[in-house]
Structure formats: C-alpha cells, structure tokens
Symmetry: C2
Subunit: 236 residues, 2 copies
C-alpha cells in the first residue's frame, strides 16, 4: 500500500502527517506536556519502543517536532514546533467528539497506570495545603489483563506532582480507595465524584480537612466538562 493518498487536497496532505496509527496519541501526549521518550510511552503504553522511535523520526522529518539532544548527556527531548502546535485544535476536536459520542469505559480500556499518569498532571497545585502531601491510590476491580501495579503514590507540593509505583516510604496523608471503572468514569466526567463517594465506590481515608479538600484538587480530564448531546446522555 502506498503510504500517501496522492491528492493535493490540504486535508489529504495533513492526514499523511497526522493520521498515521499512534501519531495523534503521541501528539496528544506532547500537548499534555511530555517531552521525553519514556514519558511519551507512559501516555501511550501499548506502542512498541521501535515504533515510537520511528514515529518521532517521521514527525521530526515533517517539521512537527524537533529533537534536542541534551548538551552532555544521553537524554534528549522533543518539542512541538510552531507547525506541531497548530495541530492542537485537531486534537481538541477529536477529544470533544470522543467525549460527546462514545462510551469509553470498558474492560478493554481500563488501565490504572494510564489513569494515574493522566491524573498526576491534573492536580490543582495552587489549592494544596502548604508543604508536602502524600496520596495513595488503591484500585480494585482491575482487569486481569493489566500488568502493572494497582497501588500508586502521588507526592504533591506547590511545585509539582511526582508519581510513584513503589512505596516511597513516606507517611501517607490521604488514601483513595477506588473501584477502577468508577474512578475512570469520574475522571472522564461521566460520574460526579460526589456520586461515587456516596455510593462508596470511591472512598477517601484520612483527616477530615484533606477529605473535604481533595475533590477541589483533582481536576478531571481536559474533556470532562464537555457535555454529551441530550440524545446521547448516559442513563442515571
């Protein structure tokens, strides 16, 4: 199969750059802030290493990203160019469509590691208490398919949010005990967190102050606020 479409139409040419398998997800990940190879992989865990490298090379060749080798290390980083940044409306349009017209939570898409990787970038740091706050998430209802851990620590302070997959040995301030499907649904905006707490599918264990404040820290998915069409609303 010839790779291109053989058309001068701007949509066709853009598709040759943008619409290859995995590429929109790689760009989504870079818009979310990832700049390093393995950070991108955490956001697109099912892509193989070889293929990610190939896609990044292709995007670089087409002027969508630039690769910058760190001065004296093996660490290199990738940034969107001006051209790459202009794919943002396309990614946002796709996300809005997916939010409005699809069911996303299913056995095949649940993944606690992926959920946490997304969540850790959507903590409203400005609302945190002073000093460090340590959260632990314990997930139940994780599909057997999922390889990784089902327990995660978030280390929060005003300057950032670190994610740990092994016990960092710090005192945990607040523990979130959650059914994975429910928490994913909350993240996507399909279930209000208050409902999930009321039904006890998500439980917050810790000091009252933190329990009360937690919902305000946790910003949801960038698309969570987009409303479904009335004709397609989820049942109660």
């Amino acid at each position: 199969m010839r790779s291109g479409f053989g058309q001068f139409c701007p949509v066709a040419v853009a598709c040759e750059v943008f619409a290859e398998r995995w590429t929109p997800l790689i760009l989504r990940e870079m818009f979310a802030g990832s700049m390093h190879f393995n950070d991108i992989r955490r956001g697109v865990p099912l892509i193989s290493s070889a293929l990610l490298a190939q896609r990044l090379r292709s995007l670089e060749a087409r002027g969508v990203i630039v690769r910058e080798s760190a001065a004296q290390g093996r660490s290199s980083s990738y940034r969107l160019t001006d051209a790459g940044r202009e794919f943002k409306p396309v990614i946002e349009g796709l996300g809005a469509w997916g939010q409005r017209w699809t069911v996303r939570v299913s056995r095949d898409t649940l993944d606690p590691g992926f959920l946490m990787w997304n969540m850790h970038r959507r903590i409203d740091l400005a609302r945190l208490p002073n000093g460090r706050t340590v959260l632990r998430f314990d997930y139940s209802g994780v599909p057997a398919r999922c390889r990784g851990p089902r327990q995660f620590w978030l280390l929060l302070d005003r300057h950032g949010c670190g994610i740990c997959v092994e016990d960092p040995g710090l005192e945990v301030d607040l523990c979130i005990d959650a059914d994975l499907a429910t928490m994913t649904s909350v993240w996507l905006g399909d279930t209000p967190l208050a409902d999930a707490l009321r039904s006890r599918k998500v439980r917050l264990l810790g000091p009252r102050t933190l329990v009360r404040e937690f919902p305000a820290w946790l910003m949801l998915s960038r698309f969570a606020h987009i409303q479904r069409p009335a004709s397609h609303a989820p049942g109660p």
Copy 2:
C-alpha cells in the same frame, strides 16, 4: 495489529473511528456534498471499491453516517448523522494545517479529474449570466500517470453545475486553456489567478464579457484563503 488503542482517552476512541486510512477523506467528501457511492469515489479516486464499501459500513456501524436505500431502486445514499457532522471542525482543522504548512502541488498529486470534481462544486452560480453557460477546460502538463481525460466540460446554470468528460455536443461559451500545475496552484490559493493569466499559463478564450467575469465565478478551494505563516510563505 490490534485495531484499537486500548485507551479510554476520548482522543484515542475518536481516532479509532476517524483516523483509519481513507476515512478522513471519505468524510471530507461527504461534507463537500457527496451522498452516493460513486460520487464519493470521484473525490477519493484511489480507494478501491471494496475498501470504500468496507469503510462506509464501518462508519455506519459507529453511527457516523446512515445509509438510506432508495424506495424502489438499487440506488442508496449516505448521509452524515449528527455525530458525523461534528467531525467538521476536525476536517477543517486538518485542512487549515495542510494549507499552512505543506507543499501540495507535486507530480504525484496532480490530477485533472480530481481538480475538476472539486472545482465543479465551487462555482458561484449566483454570479452566472442568465441561461446556460458551457465551459471547456483543456489541460496541458498532465503527468503520464494520470489515466483519465484532460478535457472537461462544465455545464452551468443557476440551478447547478454538471461535469462532463465527453463532448456533450453543445456550443462552448468559454474555453480555459491551462497548465495543470498552475491551475492547481491557483485552486489552492498559492498563485493568484491574475498572475496565472498574466504569465499565460492559464488562458481564457471567449467573449470579453465572459473572460472578464470568469474569475468571479470560480470560487477556490475552501482552504485557499487561509494564510501561510510568514516564516513559511512560498517564494515569488
């Protein structure tokens, strides 16, 4: 390769529907007004019949289009659903990106039939003279690869525009003699029609009135008016 991406992210789920090979072009064609199988094929000439049928079935199954079988004929038609129509901003975003950041006219993308198929939908019918106007386009500089004809008739009146590939036997009111690459560049907004006329790479043969009015009838590509970034402007 598993077809999906295994992610609950709305972007990923939307990509499973939208970002398959050929699918964005099929939708572009439907947004441009095509509703029948072979009309869509004229806008996506390199897709095979079998694959187009498969893609249409897939889009129908995902609720993006509906297929309506005509009451008593073999003719069926396809329409975008509400969900399908909401891909419009995505297509437009891709087209805008392609317009701003790519070179589209090359030996591999030139195609007089495809150009005419697009052009015939972008004639400003309201500006036409009364009655019927017959145009004939004669293309030179057509790559050997192109199979079809290099001469086309447009039959214009206030109610529509018909495209013919064989001599309809009507008197031609205006003949457009054009280098294909130049006309394509004009269509895409990269070359002003006035420049192409001045350099005589496009020539209009007919009564003065029609010659003067023609540029006003010919609307260009929907993306032609989108400006390139200053850093990426085409040379003079």
